[in-house]
């Protein structure tokens, strides 16, 4: 199965989770997602997702000067974002339970 296909639907939740953990700027969020194991996710997808969540009101943003380079735009989660994340957690938990059962049953049938 194509991991990037799977990821597309789950990227909103993953991004919200990372930002909920701690505010971050674009590249920082990217690094943390990668560190968590989402190595297939494209840079542009993450920046685009951040902007979209921001426009939808799930994220807030503020600019902070940086010692190393240009000013950084940090993203933080809003109440609306938290609600969206909570809902995504439930949906995902249910979805993954169902799918895990399904795939395991398939394995047993085959065995």
């Amino acid at each position: 199965m194509d991991r990037s296909q799977l990821l597309r639907g789950a990227l909103d939740a993953a991004t919200l989770a990372v930002v909920a953990d701690e505010d971050g700027y674009g590249y920082d969020v990217l690094r943390r997602l990668r560190a968590a194991g989402l190595i297939d996710v494209g840079d542009a997808s993450i920046y685009g997702t951040l902007r979209r969540l921001y426009r939808a009101g799930a994220l807030t943003s503020y600019v902070q000067p940086s010692d190393e380079g240009p000013h950084r735009r940090y993203y933080g989660i809003t109440d609306s974002g938290r609600a969206q994340l909570a809902e995504a957690r439930e949906v995902w938990a249910e979805f993954s339970r169902v799918l895990t059962d399904l795939l395991q049953t398939e394995v047993e049938v085959k065995a």
Partner: protein, 292 residues
């Protein structure tokens, strides 16, 4: 503030161009995130941005899709755009591997078109080889041209006008090569032309024939025929008034009578009817045939 590396600037400019249809504010917000990250990413990876992130157009498309922004209404792609997409297609780019073949081919075309313009001959054995001086010299010339051409290709020197001229020049060369070479005219034809009218012996023309009887007497006015009954004529090419030609009662000349005799000029007489070549008739012991 650290400076933005030039490659990041170039990459960003390409993304900005690809997002030109978005509202300026939206576009600049997106680019602001990307810029900061690209600077850090460049510092982290140190390598080529485009190699890591892919072409900026694709990056922009992914950015646009993830941000939920409408792709611009695709205008019908113009010819230049279609051409650009075609040349950018990896499958088409793969064809670039074949370009060394063209390097060699254009060298040949360059030499061949000069030969065509100069109107030199072409090798009969190997019709694709022009004869410049000789076929061997032409091969040397083509080889040198190929070396130069490949060198130009490898050093990525390109002069579009010359390139286009060679493509055009390839057309008359191809037309020339597609024509079957004229079959070589061989000595066989010359021998055919050497066939003699009239009498000959082993290919040597004969002026006259001298028949003798078995007992060594020269015979006169012997009429000779072939096996199919054709008179073996010794026609006088240019009528020779001195030749003694036998005639029928109707005045028709009989030209298969030998030996041919000639009148002495002004006399109408043959002074030496028995003049003969220096032959010695051998003594024949086989009994003579008897006519019935």
């Amino acid at each position: 503030m650290t400076a933005v590396p030039p490659e990041v600037t170039v990459y960003l400019a390409a993304i900005r161009a690809a997002l030109a249809d978005l509202p300026a504010e939206e576009r600049e917000d997106l680019l602001a995130d990307v810029r900061g990250s690209l600077v850090e990413a460049a510092a982290d990876s140190g390598g080529n941005i485009a190699a890591r992130l892919g072409p900026p157009e694709e990056f922009a498309a992914e950015l646009r899709a993830a941000a939920g922004l409408q792709a611009p209404d695709e205008p019908r792609p113009g010819f230049r755009e279609l051409l650009r997409r075609l040349t950018a297609d990896p499958r088409v780019r793969e064809l670039r591997r074949l370009v060394p073949i063209w390097w060699v081919a254009r060298a040949y075309v360059a030499v061949a078109v000069v030969a065509l313009l100069a109107g030199t001959g072409w090798s009969l054995t190997y019709p694709i080889v022009p004869r410049i001086g000789s076929g061997a010299w032409a091969l040397v010339l083509i080889g040198l041209a190929a070396v130069v051409s490949v060198w130009l290709g490898l050093t990525r020197r390109s002069w579009l006008v010359a390139e286009a001229a060679l493509v055009v020049a390839a057309i008359p060369v191809a037309v020339h090569l597609s024509h079957k070479p004229v079959p070589p005219s061989t000595v066989v034809y010359i021998e055919t032309a050497a066939y003699q009218q009239g009498l000959s012996y082993n290919g040597v023309p004969l002026n006259n024939l001298y028949p003798y009887s078995r007992d060594g007497h020269m015979l006169h006015d012997v009429l000779l025929y072939t096996g199919s009954g054709t008179p073996i004529d010794a026609p006088a090419g240019v009528p020779d008034p001195l030749r003694r030609v036998l005639r029928t009662k109707a005045g028709k000349p009989v030209e298969n009578a030998f030996p041919i005799r000639y009148f002495d000029p002004g006399t109408g007489r043959v002074s030496h009817p028995d003049a003969s070549p220096p032959v010695r008739i051998p003594r024949i012991v086989t009994p003579p045939l008897r006519s019935r």
